[in-house]
Point group: C2
Chain length 331, copies 2
């Protein structure tokens, strides 16, 4: 399903990160960083709420808007019951919708909000996401205190919050079109290889987007997937070549390989993941480059592994889904 | 935030229930029932996937449409990682968005889909929800094998799936307007009194809706909340009177008190709950009455308790949110 939009713009965006993100190559671009994973709170979950709330605070400040100027907040995260989002929403007193697309949530939110703005239902809307390394490890894998070793295909959930303010107010970055993905089953059962579970889903959504928009891969200055990581990225390159005869070249990158320095920050293994990953890379690196004219048009392809520990215990494969949004410099 | 719609209709809907729903006063209206909570599957979670999938199958059959005719599936449920929804989505190969609004998910989905149809982005869309008594008890409370007694304010999570097909094709039931709620904190920390946590949130959304639409409570033949239960319903009636000077009279009811026979089915305590509750009561009782002209206009107010066991362990209150949608007979 591909939508096109007339007057939807991204004018303000914000990123709030933790210590690993601060030490990464994009650290200096972040709006706010915490040097401790607790961010001054007593638990990791409350730290995640804090960082997500902070990112909303920052985007409101940048836009010089008050929360009462915002018609709708759409937010998603990995915590069970999407609590980082709903507990942040209380603070701002904005009409709220919670979404869950795992690590594809940022683009799911942008597609929904852009459609509401394009349909003249909403004038100003904020889309937020968060993730937290420790709250995720605790919930999805093992307590880190166990010190369980991980394979090199494992990714490292990024920590922080990111928000974007979409509106019908003309600005430099236009949300131009979007493609909603379908759930894909790669028969992947290894919770330490999310990149492998998600790569083909990203490929299918990219192909569908190009077909619906009657474009080639070279109509984009950048195709940015997130969060496939080092190995998932290679799988996607191979898959696009074999399945669709499409060569992903220099204009392709994966946000999972960009948020951290994969050579120096060895603990991140195959790279960054989490709903925050593609949002943080986009809002701290890609959107500024669109504003400066370095890029004219980019395709953000957020990849979500619909990973449920309960379903894995029941020997079910990990499904995945990817959604894409095309952003371009407004002429 | 209140939206109005021009050409959005509900022409088909479906309900699939379990043994308790079958034995309830609306049992004979359900499209399909399973007499066993496993629904032929090996686990409760897979049974929930089955029932949600079944409800999509039934609504497709009723509409004589194929899944390829459906532009978008929006679905939500209570399972961690919204897995009943995403695992059902695979089977139908429809572009998919997962949402999480706890027991307010059905109306969250209807609002989003109606807005996409009204904005001419989608022609035919399905909105689904599910819940399962045992998968919920296991995830949110105690293993039922412990036999822990519950207070009478506790509600009973309903079991099954429900789907609705929204489209721009003129039909008898028109989606006329909707109001998106805000997150509310009643400082409620008792996970066995969801009705108490949600009642005021329902009241605030009803008040906002009436104000935005410049209507009185008597402009509706029925205001149906879900899933406050026996005691939450009384709290809402008192709250509306005290806070807003609005008398909820004979045209008010709560779906939590309608799905089961509260006198005979004693195990349900204060009544039914779960995202399925208001959807099942609406699609098996209220929408048929709109089609027959018994009601001319109804307001469905889905109430969600944003209950996270992790946050309760961390001594955080249970927040809540309610969304409303107004349906009327198309003239």
């Amino acid at each position: 399903m591909t939508f096109t939009y007339d007057d939807v713009y991204i004018n303000f965006y914000s990123t709030v990160g933790g210590p690993y993100e601060k030490d990464g190559p994009l650290g200096k671009n972040l709006d706010k960083v915490y040097t401790n994973l607790y961010a001054g709170e007593k638990t990791w979950e409350q730290a995640e709420v804090k960082m997500l709330s902070d990112s909303i605070d920052v985007v409101l400040k940048k836009s010089r808007k008050d929360s009462s100027d915002i018609d709708l907040l759409i937010s998603g995260d990995l915590l069970n019951q999407v609590t980082a989002s709903s507990y942040s929403a209380l603070k701002f007193n904005i009409p709220f919708f919670g979404i869950y697309g795992a690590c594809s949530s940022s683009v799911e939110g942008i597609i929904l909000m852009s459609s509401l703005i394009d349909g003249k239902k909403v004038k100003n809307g904020i889309v937020s996401v968060s993730s937290h390394n420790m709250s995720s490890e605790k919930q999805f894998r093992n307590p880190t205190e166990y010190g369980a070793p991980k394979p090199k295909t494992a990714t490292f959930t990024s920590t922080g919050g990111a928000s974007v303010l979409l509106s019908n107010q003309k600005g430099k970055i236009r949300v131009e079109s979007s493609t909603i993905g379908k759930v894909v089953d790669m028969d992947q059962t290894d919770p330490f290889n999310m990149g492998g579970a998600m790569a083909c889903s990203a490929g299918d959504t990219i192909y569908k987007h190009l077909k619906d928009m009657k474009r080639s891969i070279n109509d984009y200055d950048l195709i940015l997937t997130g969060d496939l990581g080092r190995y998932g990225k290679e799988i996607l390159i191979d898959y696009m070549k074999e399945e669709y005869k499409i060569e992903l070249g220099k204009n392709y990158d994966d946000s999972g390989t960009m948020l951290y320095d994969l050579n120096k920050q060895e603990e991140v293994l195959a790279g960054a993941s989490g709903p925050l990953c593609i949002a943080m890379v986009s809002y701290s690196d890609i959107l500024p480059k669109l504003e400066k004219g370095v890029f004219k048009r980019v395709l953000l392809v957020a990849t979500g592994a619909l990973f449920s520990p309960t379903f894995v215990y029941q020997h079910k494969p990990i499904y995945s889904i990817s959604h894409a949004v095309s952003l371009e410099v407004n002429k």
